[in-house]
């Protein structure tokens, strides 16, 4: 696969608003470049404006629209909190596109997303043009608000779980996966979410003999494969999450555990 060249782009903020109860924000940026070429699962390195934050922050491409990209992020630390102050019309510099996306090759895909991990699956769902189902979970109904809206009409079926049962099925997302798998003949699972959830899903996929791809996160500095901040051990040897991932075949990264 030849990837588009990495570029440094001054994007313009078109929309920036809080969409989730738990400090989740949506950032819509015009990057004046064809964003449709980006693969689902790729990410950007975003420079937090105003100079106090030194390193860029990696954020997945949640969706694209012509020359615009949508990022969905949670304000959890210094950088993302500062990011919330960005206003419409502001310029934000991004390094994009980074990494390899999901391999779309399959007949009946099941997407599994947990928390913020639901975001990058939006573009993936769209690329599947309605043929994918999604199993997605959050802590509670309030947190489920934006995912429900975002996944209206882009998937065949949406199965919702909440930890407290305030919406959809009660319990952790992975718990309900066996039931979901029993109903349809999925031939690939694409999962993004907390590591513990991805491991459970990968394990179940293995038991069911279904292909599974996971999107990993590691602290990053360069995003280009140069600094070796993000190295992981895989069955293929050491790999860099930023360059060789962030999407990996689950059995290559969750092994021996």
């Amino acid at each position: 696969m030849t990837l588009p060249k990495h570029e440094l782009i001054d994007g313009k903020v078109i929309r920036h608003e809080q969409i989730g109860s738990n400090d989740v924000y949506l950032l819509d940026i015009d990057i004046f470049t064809d964003a449709e070429q980006y693969a689902a699962g790729q990410f950007v390195q975003l420079q937090v404006p105003d100079g106090e934050i030194l390193l860029r922050r990696p954020i997945s491409i949640a969706d694209v629209n012509g020359t615009r990209i949508i990022l969905i992020y949670r304000a959890i630390g210094k950088g993302t909190k500062r990011l919330t102050r960005v206003q419409c019309g502001d310029t934000v510099n991004i390094l994009a596109p980074l990494g390899h996306g999901f391999n779309l090759d399959c007949q009946k895909p099941l997407l599994v997303g947990g928390g913020l991990g639901i975001a990058p699956l939006i573009l993936l769902a769209k690329r599947f043009k309605g043929k994918a189902d999604i199993l997605m979970g959050c802590k509670n109904a309030a947190e489920m608000d934006w995912p429900v809206k975002m996944y209206d009409n882009i998937t065949a079926e949406n199965i919702i779980t909440t930890d407290d049962g305030s919406m959809g099925l009660k319990g952790f997302t992975a718990q309900h996966l066996p039931d979901v798998l029993a109903k349809k003949a999925y031939d690939k699972i694409f999962v993004c979410g907390p590591e513990i959830m991805m491991k459970s899903v990968a394990e179940i996929a293995k038991q069911h003999n279904i292909a599974c791809e996971v999107s990993l996160e590691k602290r990053m500095a360069c995003g280009l494969g140069a600094c070796l901040s993000c190295t992981i051990e895989t069955t293929r040897g050491r790999q860099k999450v930023c360059k060789d991932g962030p999407v990996f075949v689950s059995q290559e990264v969750f092994f021996n555990e």
């Binding site: 030194l54 390193l55 390094l95 602290r219 990053m220 140069a226 600094c227």
Partner: protein, 304 residues
């Protein structure tokens, strides 16, 4: 700006500019090919290389600090053989001098590495005696003049290439270390490597980094680096490669005024992957504004 020249030479290495990269921050150079004009880069100092492949440290390897970052990569690298076989043939096409940063566990390993790297496509070796992340040996060589001198001698004996010694800032007397390096036969002095630091997560009560401590780099360390370059410049005659927090041409000029013959850009590559080009262009502009024609005209010109 045809009448303005950034060209320079260090220990016989001809460079298109005094701008180099700092080891470990520029990969093998190829990772930045989409951004950097290699005609503007004086030399590419590649990732720290060891005799055997190393997998580096476990756990979190970087964290941001005020105006800086801590890293404990732990010298992950494919080993010198893989470098020579797989990587060097691939990166020589950039037509930019390649300097290999090497780390050994013993004095002899430095010699062995230097010998193996005495090949046409390598311009020089840089001895990393100060990486604070490697438990076996690394730190000791860099903070004690005698063992550092033995490392330099071992490398010198085994190569015809220039030998660059990269000094650790974690010492009481940087001038003493520089003088010892000069006496031991080093051809060039690089400074500074990272300052040893630490970060703690107040929620988990655990160190942030997998290796507990790590090396501090970035703008935060610039005042310390600049002071060391200035002190060393007054004590030794060897060419100096200055580094530590260089983010722009102004920073580079500060180092050159303090006495650096060339500068290396590290952490800034992560922040702005095309920063080398920008520094090059801004150095040209600066010379023009100051009615100078040659970058060497500013080296060591601090009026102190």
């Amino acid at each position: 700006m045809s009448n303005i020249s950034l060209k320079t030479e260090i220990a016989g290495i001809k460079m298109n500019s005094p701008i180099m990269t700092a080891s470990g921050t520029f990969g093998f150079g190829e990772e930045f090919a989409d951004f950097v004009d290699f005609n503007k880069l004086g030399a590419s100092v590649v990732k720290g290389t060891t005799l055997k492949p190393r997998s580096g440290n476990k756990g979190v390897r970087i964290t941001e600090t005020p105006a800086g970052m801590l890293n404990c990569i732990g010298l992950e690298n494919p080993g010198v053989e893989a470098f020579l076989q797989d990587i060097l043939p691939r990166i020589k096409k950039y037509n930019c001098p390649v300097i290999v940063n090497i780390s050994g566990n013993t004095v002899e390993e430095y010699g062995e590495l230097a010998k193996m790297l005495d090949v046409p496509d390598v311009a020089a070796v840089e001895l990393n005696v100060s990486c604070p992340n490697v438990k076996e040996g690394g730190i000791a060589f860099g903070v004690e003049p005698d063992s550092m001198s033995r490392v330099i001698e071992s490398a010198k004996k085994n190569t015809n290439k220039p030998v660059i010694i990269k000094l650790s800032p974690n010492v009481t007397d940087i001038v003493m270390m520089a003088k010892a390096a000069e006496k031991a036969g080093a051809d060039v002095i690089s400074l500074i490597n990272t300052l040893m630091g630490m970060a703690i997560d107040v929620n988990t009560w655990k160190p942030v980094l997998g290796n507990i401590t790590g090396g501090l780099s970035g703008p935060a360390v610039k005042p310390v680096a600049l002071r060391m370059v200035w002190q060393v410049r007054q004590a030794v005659k060897l060419p100096i490669i200055g580094m530590g927090g260089i983010m722009n041409a102004t920073d580079a000029i500060e180092f050159m005024l303090a006495g650096a013959d060339a500068v290396a850009v590290g952490t800034a590559n992560f922040v702005q992957p095309d920063i080398i080009n920008k520094i090059y262009d801004d150095l040209e502009k600066y010379l023009k504004e100051k009615n100078l024609t040659n970058i060497k005209q500013i080296v060591g010109k601090l009026q102190a």
